[in-house]
């Protein structure tokens, strides 16, 4: 991937992100933030490669810690978001 293509992806994704989020109601700000936070754990993908290459002790250690931290971010983020959204949804069913 050339730098220009990478930058193109970056800029387009930024615009797309702003477009997707711009009209979110306040009720969903917290779940949105913790859900998007979990997506930022995508760095896990990089961590898996870094930790798995077996290049040197230093890079493997860095990768190992990175995989652990990113996994906490990803698993915890999606789970806690799910828990919050279940509170919103469950309540509606009870009442109607």
């Amino acid at each position: 991937m050339t730098l220009l293509i990478a930058l193109t992806l970056f800029v387009l994704a930024v615009f797309l992100g702003m477009e997707l989020i711009s009209k979110v109601p306040a009720t969903l700000h917290t779940p949105l933030m913790s859900g998007s936070n979990a997506i930022s754990g995508i760095t896990l993908i990089g961590a898996l490669v870094s930790a798995g290459t077996d290049h040197s002790v230093l890079t493997t250690t860095l990768g190992f810690v990175a995989v652990t931290l990113a996994t906490i971010n990803v698993v915890g983020g999606f789970l806690v978001t799910n828990r919050m959204l279940a509170m919103f949804a469950g309540r509606k069913k009870n009442r109607s």
Partner: protein, 458 residues
């Protein structure tokens, strides 16, 4: 189809799942599905990455994944909803920290193999710095939100802060020019650590939602720049999506306080010099649970305005009891929520949802303000600055121009508050001496329970 094609196709599908998932998170009805789609995207991305031929030591990965999953799951399932902001701050920090380590490891490896390019060096420098800021900034935010960190800086803090920001530029240039010298990389990380700590330490309660949103954006940016190090399009796309959405929320929070991001970051939160009780003289009318109950019995429409004090007192369940009791006698009860009520964007909505209060009863500032004029009783629970009419009337007030909830338009306002002490902004509130305002001095939870008891007896 080659292994690489499968991986790239998998990444494309993940990116689509993230985009559809984020879009879904934007509407109440589709939000749970949106979250699941995001999680599915992540799962797919991990799965196809494990096909990568560079990966040699699967045992290490399995161990790290297992540890991370266990810790993440326990934290997510155990956390109290009042502590949600701390947890999100912590996760943000972990994401940022992971990005630093990935960028560092990949950069070191590329240099060892003599495969580094200017793009890799520049991206590694940027990631090391932003990721480090995110990591320590989030840890400080975590401590502050938890209430275990009272430190708010030292004289000359802004100078050290500016220095750590300025020194990052030459360090990054040196790193790009001499990639063999790992020292520059770690110096850059150290500068980021210092900036993260000093950037977050002076920021207090009311500005916290802005900081959490900003750190969220930074963790996304760090993941995105890691994508430039690894030449990985999925990291670039997913990271930028998060960065952009975090920035949008940051902007929303700033607007809600009538402050610019620069003001939040570089000036202290607006404070007055009010000492408390003396500002009000004899103008305050105190009330009791029985009296409020009597008012509520004859009310047709009641608006409840919850704030930080309600969250601290864990009064949300008591508030729900009050709502149910009032609805049973035919009173219309709705909630007015200021965008920065609570400690992260939308935190108050989550607390009320936890207490099983319908989100259709929650109205934001623009929706609720025109309705105060036809409201019999407004109950303000532990909210101070977001209902301070000085923001509207006094151009010299430190919070002048900040959009507020116009609770003083309603027939009677009951303010539940422990004392007359000024709120976070430290400014006196003319609402308390207004003719239609009654002050109920008590802990939020006890006061609401008292009112419910009085209603049941009366």
């Amino acid at each position: 189809m080659s292994r690489l094609d499968i991986i790239d196709l998998g990444y494309l599908l993940s990116a689509v799942l993230f985009i559809v998932g984020l879009k879904g998170l934007g509407r109440p009805r589709t939000a749970p599905r949106g979250n699941l789609l995001g999680a599915a995207g992540m799962f797919l991305a991990v799965l196809v990455t494990l096909l990568n031929q560079d990966i040699l030591t699967y045992t290490m990965l399995a161990l790290a994944l297992a540890i991370g999953t266990a810790i993440g799951a326990v934290l997510a399932l155990k956390v109290k909803m009042t502590s949600m902001p701390e947890l999100v701050a912590l996760f943000n920090g972990f994401g940022g920290g992971a990005s630093v380590m990935v960028a560092a490891a990949s950069f070191i490896e590329a240099v060892d193999l003599n495969a580094h390019t200017t793009q890799i060096s520049v991206a590694a420098a940027v990631t090391a710095f932003i990721g480090a800021v995110t990591l320590t900034g989030s840890m400080i935010a975590f401590g502050k939100l938890k209430g275990s960190l009272g430190w708010s800086g030292f004289p000359g803090l802004s100078l050290v802060r500016a220095a750590s920001l300025l020194v990052a530029v030459p360090l990054a240039v040196l790193l790009v020019m001499q990639p063999e010298n790992q020292g520059w990389l770690w110096a850059l990380v150290a500068a980021g650590f210092i900036l993260g700590v000093l950037g977050t330490v002076p920021i207090g309660g009311a500005d916290m939602p802005v900081v959490i949103a900003l750190l969220n954006a930074l963790s996304g940016v760090a993941a995105s720049t890691t994508g430039f190090v690894l030449d990985n399009p999925l990291l670039i796309i997913a990271g930028s999506l998060v960065g952009a959405s975090g920035l949008v929320l940051t902007q929303v929070m700033c607007k809600a306080m009538n402050r610019s991001l620069l003001e939040v970051l570089f000036t202290a939160a607006p404070t007055g010099s009010s000492s408390g009780d003396d500002d009000y003289g004899d103008g305050v009318t105190a009330t009791s649970g029985e009296e409020v109950a009597m008012l509520l019995e004859i009310a047709e429409r009641v608006v409840i305005v919850p704030g930080y004090g309600m969250a601290v007192a864990q009064a949300q369940h008591a508030v729900r009891d009050l709502m149910v009791r009032l609805e049973a006698s035919g009173v219309e009860v709705v909630f007015g929520i200021h965008p920065v009520a609570g400690r992260m964007p939308g935190h108050m909505n989550v607390l009320l949802a936890e207490a099983e209060i319908d989100y259709e009863l929650l109205f934001d500032m623009d929706q609720i303000n025109p309705t105060f004029a036809r409201t019999d009783v407004t109950i303000v629970i532990g909210a101070n600055d977001v209902v301070n009419p000085a923001a509207r009337t006094d151009p010299d007030s430190p919070i002048a121009g900040m959009p507020i909830l116009d609770v003083d338009d309603s027939r009677t306002v009951v303010v539940i508050k422990r004392s007359l002490s000024p709120g976070f902004a430290g400014i006196s509130n003319p609402l308390f001496v207004a003719d239609n305002a009654l002050l109920y001095f008590a802990d939020a939870r006890e006061a609401v329970l008292e009112i419910v008891t009085a209603l049941n007896e009366g």
